[in-house]
Symmetry: D3
Subunit: 335 residues, 6 copies
C-alpha cells in the first residue's frame, strides 16, 4: 500500500530474563526495543506501508543500536535526533497462567523525556505523509514531550494529514506537575481517530461510565470534540496470562459495531498487543476505506496474532492477518 505513516514517541530498551525465568534467576537478558508508537509504525511497515519514526535517543552506542533496530524493522529513521541523556528502559519478567508478567520502567532522565518543542521540524518530517499517530504515553512523559506532540498534531492538521491517537495512559505516569486532565483535551480535540476505552474517556474527560456503555461514552466524546471521526476500542478478557480473548469495537459516528471475537489459547508475548490493534485500525481503515467492520476485524486479527510474536512488535505479514480475519484459525503449516 503506497501510504506513509509517521509516528512519534519514546523507544525503550526492553530487557527480559529468558523464557519464563524470573528476575531473581537471570544471568542474561534478552534484548529488543519497543515503544507504543514505534510498535505501531513497525507493524504497519510489515503490513506493507511506508513508515518512519521520530524520537530522541542518547548520543552514544546504545542510541545508535536502538536506531538500528528501527531501521532493521523497515522504519525510516532520518528524523531521529540525538542528545543527552540515557536510553529509556523497561525490564519485563514474563508470566504464565496465574503468574502475572511484571514490568519495571526506567524512563526518568531519558533522552526522549528531555525533548523540547523546537527540536523537530514537523513540516519537514511530515512532508509526504498520509497519517500521523501518537499515544497518551508521550504527553505523560514530560512537558517537552507533550508540547512536541501537540506541535506535531497541529502541523498534521494544517497539512491535511490524518491523525490517530491511542490516548490512554496510567494516572501514575504523570509526574512532571501537570495532570492528564489538563493536558489531554488539547491533543484529543485535534485528533481524527481516537483509540481508547470507556475508562479512558471517563478518566480524562468525565464522560460516560467505566466498563459499560463504550458507545455512549464515545458519542459524548465526539460531541465534545467534533473533529473526531471514530472512536475505537477493544474488549479483552484475560482468562489467564496464557489465555486471552480479544474483540474490537467501534463507534463509527453512526453506529456501534463489534468485530468477531478471537480466542488466543496459548499466549507467547502479551506486550504490544494493543499497539498491534492500533496498527490494524490504521492499516485497516486505509485498506478497506469505507468498510469500518472489515477494518475492525482486521485490527482484531492483527491484535490476536501479536500474542504469538516474541517482542514488542507485530512482525506478521498482510497475508497472515487477512487469512485469520477471513476465519482460518487452523494455524496449518505453510510450505
Amino acid at each position: 500500500m503506497d501510504k506513509k505513516l509517521i509516528t512519534f514517541g519514546e523507544v525503550m530498551m526492553r530487557l527480559s530474563p529468558p523464557g519464563y525465568t524470573m528476575f531473581s534467576q537471570a544471568s542474561s537478558f534478552d534484548l529488543v526495543y519497543g515503544g507504543g508508537e514505534a510498535n505501531v509504525a513497525i507493524s504497519c511497515g510489515y503490513l506493507g506501508m511506508k513508515a518512519a519514526h521520530v524520537t530522541r535517543f542518547p548520543d552514544n552506542a546504545l542510541g545508535k543500536a536502538a536506531t538500528q533496530f528501527l531501521r532493521k524493522h523497515w522504519l525510516g529513521t532520518k528524523d531521529v535526533i540525538y542528545g543527552d541523556n540515557m536510553l529509556g528502559k523497561y525490564f519485563l519478567q514474563k508470566g504464565a497462567v496465574h503468574r502475572s508478567s511484571e514490568v519495571i520502567y526506567e524512563r526518568e532522565g531519558s533522552a526522549f523525556s528531555l525533548i523540547k518543542p523546537d527540536m523537530i521540524n514537523w513540516e519537514e518530517v511530515l512532508k509526504g505523509a498520509d497519517w500521523f499517530h501518537w499515544t497518551g504515553i508521550t504527553p505523560a512523559i514530560s512537558e517537552g514531550a507533550a508540547m512536541c506532540c501537540l506541535e506535531a498534531i497541529k502541523t498534521a492538521n494544517k497539512m491535511g494529514i490524518k491523525v490517530s491517537g491511542d490516548i490512554n495512559s496510567r494516572q501514575n505516569m504523570w509526574k512532571y506537575g501537570k495532570t492528564m486532565q489538563e493536558v489531554m483535551p488539547e491533543l484529543v480535540k485535534n485528533t481524527d481517530i481516537v483509540i481508547t476505552s470507556s475508562r479512558g474517556i471517563k478518566e480524562m474527560f468525565g464522560l460516560g461510565e467505566v466498563g459499560v456503555g463504550f458507545s455512549e461514552a464515545a458519542k459524548e466524546l465526539m460531541n465534545t470534540f467534533p473533529r473526531i471521526e471514530k472512536v475505537v476500542g477493544k474488549t479483552r478478557k484475560s482468562i489467564s496470562a496464557s489465555h486471552q480473548q480479544i474483540q474490537g469495537k467501534m463507534w463509527t459516528g453512526k453506529k456501534y459495531i463489534k468485530a468477531d471475537k478471537l480466542d488466543v489459547t496459548h499466549v507467547i508475548d502479551r506486550v504490544g498487543t494493543g499497539d498491534a490493534f492500533a496498527s490494524g485500525i490504521i492499516f485497516g481503515l486505509l485498506y478497506y476505506q469505507d468498510d469500518d467492520l472489515q477494518a475492525l476485524n482486521f485490527a482484531t486479527a492483527a491484535c490476536a496474532l501479536k500474542h504469538t510474536v516474541v517482542g514488542d512488535v507485530n512482525m506478521v505479514s498482510l497475508d497472515n492477518v487477512l487469512s485469520l480475519m477471513k476465519g482460518d484459525t487452523s494455524g496449518k503449516i505453510k510450505r
Copy 2:
C-alpha cells in the same frame, strides 16, 4: 524386536529460529536434520527395531555431519553415498495458535536429487531386511530419485521384503517434467501397505472422493492394485497451530477401523508427526501381527507423542507409546 527396516530418501538440514522467534528476528538457527523416510527409520530405531537409511549426501563436512546425525540416532549408515552437490535444506519458523509455522525448502541441486539408478546396489542393501519404506516425496524430487526408488521397491518385492509407502506429495513439488500421475502408479502397485488420504487417492488415481469416503477410496485403490494389503490414513483436526487432534483409520481389506482419538492440547513441534504415524504403523503391524486395531492405536499414540518432541524425529520409547495407547494420558512424572 528383532526386525530390520530399510528406508530411502532425502535428509535435509533443518534450520529454525530459536523458540517462537521469526525469521526476521533470528541471530542463530537451531540445527537438526530430517526427512520423511529417515524420520520413520529413526522412530523405529528408538522403538527397538534395527534400522538403516540409504541416501546421498554431498562429499563435504556438512554431508558427514548429516550422516553423524543419523548414526547418533541409531541408524545404520553404511550404504549412504556421497557426491556432488549441496545438502538439501529447509528453514522452519515455528508458529503458535493462529500463526502458522512457515517452511522454506531449498532442495534444488541437492546431492540426493542428483542420484542415479545404478548408484545403489539394492540387493546388497536389502540383505537381511524385513521391511522397506518409501514416501511420495522421493519420486517428486527428480527422475533419478524416482527410478532409484522403483528399483528398491522391485528388489524388495523379489526378495520377499514387505514394502510400505506413505504416498502423498504436494503437486507443486513435481518440477522435473513428469507428473505424479505418470510416475506413482508403478510405485504404488508394488507396495504392500499404503499410507495416504482420500485426497491422495483421488489426486493420483482419480479414485474415490476427497475428504469423504476414505474406506471407499481405499477399497477402489486395492481393487486397482491387488498387491496392496492395507490402506492406512489419519484424520487430523487442526484447532490451531498449538492444538491438534489425531485419529488413525484403516481399510484392512476387510473392514474400516478407527483408532481412539487423541487430543494434543499443547503442541511443541508439529513437523514429522505424519512420519511418526507411519513408523507406528510399521512397528505396530509387526508387533501386534494380526491385530490391526492395536497397530492403528499404536500408530495414533506414536503420532500424538511426536507433537511434544522437538525436531523432526520421534525419540520416544516403546514404553511411552504403549502407556499412552493403553489410555494413560496423565503425563505423570516418571521417577
Copy 3:
C-alpha cells in the same frame, strides 16, 4: 513476617536438557539446585520469613556452588557442613501433554547420605527458630540421615519449636536395610503438622483407605499419634503433563476442609509444586493463625503458582500468592 524456619535435607544438583528437548538431544544442561526441604525454606524466604537450611555437601567447588545457590535465594547457610563424597544429582527431562517428564536420580554415595548423628549441633542450629520442617525423603536416604532427622525433631520438641513433616516417600527409595514402616512412626509421632495423602497413611501405618477417605485416615493417624495437630493433603488431577488441577484439603482435628480448586492450564515446571504447597501451609498457618481455611487456600495458591516457575523452588512474592488466593486468576500485567 518475623518468624524463622529451619529445614534439613539433601540438596541435589538438577541437570535438565534445555526447553522440551530430550536426553538424547542435549548438548548442554540447565543447572539449578533443589531438594524437598530446601525448596520449602527458599519459598518461605521469598514470602518474607527468615529461613536457613542444614545439609551436608562435598568439600569441593561443587559443594560450594550449591551453598551459593542457597545463599542467593535468601537462606542462611552457616550450619551447612562439608565432607566426603559427591554431590547428589538428578537429571530431569521435561515432558509435555502425554509425554511424561522423566527423572534419573544419582544420590548413592552422596555427601548427605553419609551424614552421621553427631555431626550437627541441633541445639545451636535451632536457637531462635520458630518452625522445623522435614520430609519423608530424608529417612529413606540412609540410616545416618534418618537418625539425624530424628535428633532434629526431638530437639525441636524439647525447645518448643513447631515441627512439620511432609512424610511421603517412594517405597523403592528405601535401600539401606530398614523399611519405611520401621523408621517412620518414631519421626511422625513427634511431628505437629503432617502433610501426606491417604495412600501415605495407608502405606506407612496401615490406617484408612487409599484414594478415598482422606479425613478418616487423617483422623485415625491423629488418634494413633496424639501430638499431631493437623493432617494436610492435596488432590491433584493430572489432565496431562501440561494441565494440572490442585485443591488443598485438611483435617483440622475438628473438621475436614477443602480449598478452592485451581486450574493450571499451561504448566511450565511441575517439579517442586508439592514443596510449594508445604511452604504455603507453614507460612499460611503462621500468617492466618487461627484460620485454617485461609491457610489452606494460601497453600493451594502457592502450589498453583509454582507450576509456572522454572526450577525446583517457588520464587513468587507474598503479593502474588495473596492476589491469586483472593480470586484474581487473570494474570494481568503488573506495571
Copy 4:
C-alpha cells in the same frame, strides 16, 4: 563525511558453529550475512559515509531478512531486487593456531547468480553517488553478474563517479564457461583504483612476478590500463590462524609506499579483513585527499581492527581507526 558509496555484489547467509566448535559438533549455527562488496559498504557506513548496496535476493522471508541485516547496518537498500531462487550461503568453521578456518560455499543457483544485465537501472542507482566499488568475485559468479558489473562500471565512468575494484578471485570459482582472463580486462581497464596483489596481476594479465615486485607489477598494470590511478595491496604474514601481521602497500603512480606494519596477536574473526582494508582505502583516499600514505595507514589500521570484530563486517568507528593509525596500540578501556 558527506560522500556516498554504492556497492554491488552477492550477499550470503553465513552460518557458523558457535565459538571454536567444528561442523561435527554443531547443534546450532550463528547467523550473520556477508559478501565482499556489502562488507565494504557497511564498513564505510560505520566510518560515517552514506552507503547503499545493490544486489538480488530471493523473494521470500530469507531474502527479506538479509535486506534487514543491510538496513540495520546503515545501508540504503532501495535498489535491492528480488526474484528466484535461493539465498547464497557459506558455512564457516573457525580455526585457531594451526587449525585453519574452513569455508563451504553454496552459491550455485543463488538469486544473485541469476541476475541479468537489464535488471538494474544504473543511472538511477548511481545518481548522487561519489564512488562505486566492485570486486573480482562478482564476475566469477555468472555471466549475468559479470555483465551487470560492467554496466555499472561504465555508467559510473560516464557519470564521473570514481570506481574502485578489489579484483582478485580464486581460479576455481569460474565455472560458467568463461575464464578470468577473458572477462576481467574489460572491467579493470575502466577502474580508477585497483586493489590486488602481485599474484593477482600475474594470474589475470601475465604481468609482473608473483610474490615479489608488487610495484613492478603495478606499474605494468597501469601502463596497460592507463585509467588506473593507484594500485593498492597488502602484505599479510599468517603466523598462525590466531596471529596475523598486516601492512598496506601502494603504487601511487609515482612511488611505492608502505604503511606501518600492525601485529594482530589474538585474532577473533579473520573473515572480511580484506574488505575492511578496501573500505579503509576508499574512506582514507576521500578523507586524506592528497595524502596517500595517510590513506594507506588508515586502511591498514581498519584492516587490523577487523580481525577483532565478529562477523564479516567491520563495525569500528572513525575514532577507533584514527586512534590506532596514530599509533595507540594499547587497547585501553574507553570510559
Copy 5:
C-alpha cells in the same frame, strides 16, 4: 582467616554483549553486577575473609537481584538499604588487541547516588570489623555519598578499625558541584593505607610528578597526611587489550619496594583488575603482617589472575594466588 572487612559503595548492573560482539550486534546481554568496593569485598570473601558490603539499592526486583548477587558471592548484606530510584548500570563492550573495551555508565539518579548521611548506622555496621575499605569513586558520585563515606571513615577511625582507600577517580565523574580537590583531602587524611598512582597524587594534591617518582609523591603524601602508613600502586603496561603486564609497587614509609612483574598474555576480562589488586593488598597485609613485599607480591598475583576471570570480581581461591605468587606460572591442570 578470621578477619572481617566492610566495604561501602555503589553496585551496578553490568550488561555486556556476549563474547567479543559489539553493541550493534547484541540481541542479548550477559548480566553480572559490580562496583569497585564490592568487588574488593567479594574477592576477600573468596580468599577466606569474612566480608560484608553496605550500599543502597532501588526497592524493586532489580535491587533484590543485585543483593542476591552479593549474597551468592559470600557477602553479608544485612546492612544494604533500599529506596528510590533506579539501579546504577554500566554497559561493557569487550575489546581485543587494538580494539578497546568501551564502557557506557548510567549512574545518574541511581538509588546509591541519593544516599544521605544519616541513612547508615555506622557504629552498628562496623561492629566486629577489622578493616574498612572505600574508593575515590564514591565521593565523586554525589555529595550524600561523599558525606556518608566520610562518616564511615571517621567511625572506623574512632573504633580502631584499619581504613584503606583506593583514592583515584576520573575528573569527569565529579558533576555535583564540588571538585575532587575540595572533597578528597578530608577523606584521605583519615585513611591508613592509600592505593593510588603518582598521577592521582598530583591531580588531587599537587604533590609529586605524574608518571615518574611514585615513591617521591608517596613520601610527600605521607608527609602531608601523617596517618597514612603505606602508599601502594601498580605499574600496568598495556601492550594491547589482550596482553597486559602488572607490577605492584609500594612506599612502605621506609622504603620503595616492587613486586615481581607478571605477564598476562591472553586477557579474558580486564575489568575489576584494580579491585583485585586492592583486595590482594588488604588480604596480603593481614596475612603476611610485617612482610610488605610478600603482601605486594600477593596483590600482584591476585591482580594478574583476575585478568582471566569473567565478570567484575575475582573468584580465585587463596591457593590459586599463593601458587602464582610463588612462581608457578604454568597453569597446569589441577585434577
Copy 6:
C-alpha cells in the same frame, strides 16, 4: 586406511561451565563425553581408521546418550554393555594464562567400575581388529576393570593383534586396595607399544630417573619386558594454561628420536591432548610403517592440533594433520 582399532575403558560425561566462567558462575553446563581410550578411538576414526569402543554404561537414558555420542563420532558400539549403576562424570572448569583448569572426578560406583572379567567376550570383540589400545587409567579404577583389561590384552596377544598402552595414571587414583606397582607389570609386559614418561617408568617399575633420561628409562623398560617394541613419550612445556609447547620423543629400540617441536600459542581446550598424541602414534605407525620419525611427527602434529579443538576428542582430518606435520603452521583459511 583399512585397519581396525579396538579400545576399552571408561567414558565419562563431561560437564563444563561455558567459556571461561567458573563453577561459582555456572547456570548451565556444556555437555560432551570423554575418556582416554575412547578419545583415541574417535581420533583414529576421524583420521580414517575403523574403530570401536568397549565399555559399560548404566542401563538408562544417560547410558544411551553416551553411546549415541560414540556412534555419532564414528565408533562401533555393538559391544558396549549396560548394567548398574551411574555414569562416570567429570566437571571441568577451564583456565587461562596463570589460572589452571580444574577437574573434579565422580567415578566411584560408576557402571564401568563395576565391570567383571567375564562380561566381555574378547575373542568375539577382537575378531577382525588390527590393534588394541588400553591406558593406565583402567586398571586404576577397580579390580574388575584391571582384570578385564588384562583379559583383553592377553586375547589380543593370542590373536596376533598389536597392543598399545598409554600406561600412566595418578597414584591417588588407586583406591581399591591394590597398587600400581602390583598390577601394572602384568599388563605392560604383554604390550607392544608403550606410551609413557620417564616419571611413569620410574614410579611403576623403579627404572631410570624422573625428568631426565627418557631413552635410558625406556631402554631399561624394554630390557625388563622384551615384548615391548617401542617406548614413546612427549615433552610438554607449559608456558601457561594458554600457551603450550609439544615435542614427541621415542626410543625405537635402536635409537632415540625426537619430533619437531610445535608451539601452541592460543590454547582452546587442553584436555585430551595426550590421547590425541596416542592416536597419532597408532595411526602414524600404521600409516608410515617403517618410518618412526614420520610417525612421531604425525603424533606431535595431532597432539598440537587437539589443543584447538573443543571437547575431549580430536576431530581433525588426516589432511589437517599431514599439512601441519609437513610444516604449514600458517592456519590459512581453507575455501
